[in-house]
């Protein structure tokens, strides 16, 4: 087996050095009732060619996004990743290195994490960011728990515009970690008034911008209302590219930003691995979960970086840790850093503008279709439409015609009959005019 360097001769020599007859002697502590004498009931070893065949066959049965007109968003977005990104992240020194606990031989990792932290902070308009979490949904619940710790209050308000998966994760943690969550019903348009719910018993209000339905709002008034009662404003961003075009949460008075960074550098990957972004204010840094790369100097007085404030983390604080998080999303963060490094100020702004332009083009076409109603007043690259029929069936019909048309909201909110006709459609820079033509034509066809 090509991954196992020991030869039978090596094994014999080593057993002799150890002073046992067989490797079984080294498993003597295993209770005899639990010892497996034979092999488990699984196929035996396969060579590279066979494994490749088997998995390629599974892959071939899926409709890849790039092979059809593709309009699905809902918290995971298809963008073009420059070829450079994937080549760089596959360098063995990045791919196969460990957490940078020995900083002298991990300056590569620590420097890019420092750059990543800076990128996330400037992008979100905040003061400090961590070195990533698992994904946007877990970043969101970590933000709520951080707000609870800072305010010493145990009740959070969650806007109905928050991504349903993020809301569900918050509900799970609320039940078991022990805090109260007032999660509002999903609301289209401006039906929701969060300032009414802000009181001195609230640790934070969580909003998403653009929200799950693609709507963009100014949360500055809400931020003020929260601060007046000593509560915090948490802003969730699921399409990080939007911050290349719209006012960032930091400029609206957000205290914590919990975001999904997948759009930059990372493929769809069927939902994982993705990239949790987490940013806040300097004064709150000691309550931030996750790893932090900090600048310092070495014994020769040269600038370098180390993981810092580790005493908040589980491996030192144990029961009193800010979070039980250990692993971050390192390689995904590197991909983000490289992609955003390539884009830079100009590139990000232009790419965001291109996304918005494509979505505007899509919206203009679709709102002209009879009985199709655009529900957004404002949007970035994703819109919500009300169809004359349940959206799930329309999406299935379009899929059969070779168009991946978007997400029927009923997939995520199956019990909300008032949302059964709502369809979320995203249009990124990957969408061509031909795709738009096809979508418009097939949608008209299905609805007639």
């Amino acid at each position: 087996m090509r991954y196992l360097p020991l030869t039978d001769r090596d094994r014999s020599e080593m057993l002799a050095a150890i002073g046992v007859d067989s490797v079984d002697a080294l498993f003597a502590d295993v209770p005899s009732a639990a010892r497996l004498e034979g092999l488990v009931d699984l196929p035996k070893a396969k060579g590279e060619l066979e494994v490749e065949r088997a998995i390629t066959e599974m892959a071939a049965r899926n409709i890849a996004a790039g092979s059809v007109p593709f309009f699905i968003g809902g918290g995971v977005y298809r963008h073009h990743i420059p070829a450079t990104v994937d080549h760089l992240i596959q360098r063995g020194e990045f791919l196969t290195s460990y957490t940078p606990y020995q900083p002298e031989i991990s300056q590569g990792t620590l420097q890019y994490l420092f750059e990543f932290q800076t990128q996330v902070a400037v992008l979100t308009g905040m003061e400090v960011a961590n070195a990533s979490l698992y994904d946007g949904a877990t970043a969101c619940v970590e933000a709520v728990m951080m707000a609870n710790r800072l305010t010493r209050r145990r009740k959070a308000v969650l806007s109905g515009g928050t991504h349903p998966h993020y809301r569900e994760v918050c509900e799970t943690y609320a039940r078991f970690v022990g805090f109260e969550l007032a999660a509002l019903d999903p609301a289209l348009g401006d039906a929701e008034d969060l300032t009414e719910l802000v009181g001195p018993d609230i640790s934070c209000v969580v909003v998403q911008n653009p929200d799950f339905f693609g709507e963009i709002r100014d949360y500055s008034d809400l931020a003020r209302a929260c601060h007046d009662v000593g509560a915090l404003l948490v802003v969730v961003v699921t399409e990080i590219l939007s911050l290349g075009a719209i006012r960032p949460p930091g400029e609206m008075g957000a205290d914590i930003v919990a975001a999904e960074g997948q759009s930059l550098g990372n493929a769809l990957n069927f939902g994982g691995p993705h990239l949790g972004l987490f940013a806040s204010r300097d004064k709150y840094v000691r309550q931030m979960p996750g790893r932090l790369a900090g600048q310092t100097i070495d014994a020769d007085g040269r600038r370098g970086w180390v993981l810092t404030l580790s005493t908040r983390e589980q491996h030192i604080r144990r029961e009193r840790a800010t979070s039980n998080i250990c692993t971050n999303s390192g390689l995904c963060a590197l991909a983000f850093t490289i992609h955003l490094g390539l884009l830079g100020e100009t590139g990000l702004t232009r790419l965001a503008r291109l996304n918005h332009a494509t979505a505007v083009g899509l919206a203009e076409r679709l709102e002209r279709i009879p009985d199709v109603q655009l529900l957004n007043r404002a949007f970035f690259n994703e819109i919500a439409l009300r169809l004359p029929r349940p959206a799930a069936a329309v999406v299935d019909a379009l899929a059969e015609k070779g168009v991946l048309a978007g997400i029927p909201v009923s997939r995520l909110y199956p019990n909300r009959v008032e949302l059964a006709e709502v369809l979320l459609v995203a249009a990124t820079e990957m969408v061509t005019t031909t795709d738009l033509d096809r979508f418009e034509r097939e949608l008209k066809d299905v609805l007639s």
Binding site: R286, S310, T311, R312, I316, R317, R320
Partner: protein, 125 residues
């Protein structure tokens, strides 16, 4: 010189009129290593004997500091924010953490005096 007492958790307390000044001992700071941050309670906050009053963080550890006596926080050593190293260099003096307006002088009775504490530390090894 007022009475100086020590706890088994390596806090010291010194009576100063109506106040009890609290800090951590030289042994505690040597075990912690370089102190990087101290989380102090707010003035006016009540602390109970044996319960957490502050947290002291070093690069490798974070430790609770327990109140040797009960009382109300009258003053905190804010200079430690800018210069946490004082806890390492002068733990019994400039590295003090907080001053309590304490309830009951009898709470000091079960604490160790200097001789007993020195012996206690020697037994730690």
């Amino acid at each position: 010189m007022s009475a100086l007492r020590f706890t088994r958790d390596h806090e010291w307390v010194r009576l100063d009129g109506d106040f009890a000044v609290v800090g951590i001992t030289d042994y505690a700071q040597s075990q912690l290593g370089d102190v990087v941050y101290i989380e102090l309670p707010k003035i006016g906050h009540r602390v109970e004997k044996g319960k957490e009053a502050a947290v002291v963080e070093s690069v490798k550890a974070a430790s609770e500091v327990y109140a040797p006596v009960s009382g109300e926080v009258a003053d905190i050593n804010e200079t430690l924010t800018a210069d946490p190293a004082k806890v390492n260099t002068d733990p019994m003096g400039e590295g003090w953490f907080l001053k309590l307006r304490f309830d009951d002088p009898q709470e000091l009775d079960d604490l160790m005096d200097e001789t007993a504490y020195t012996r206690f530390v020697a037994e730690q090894h």
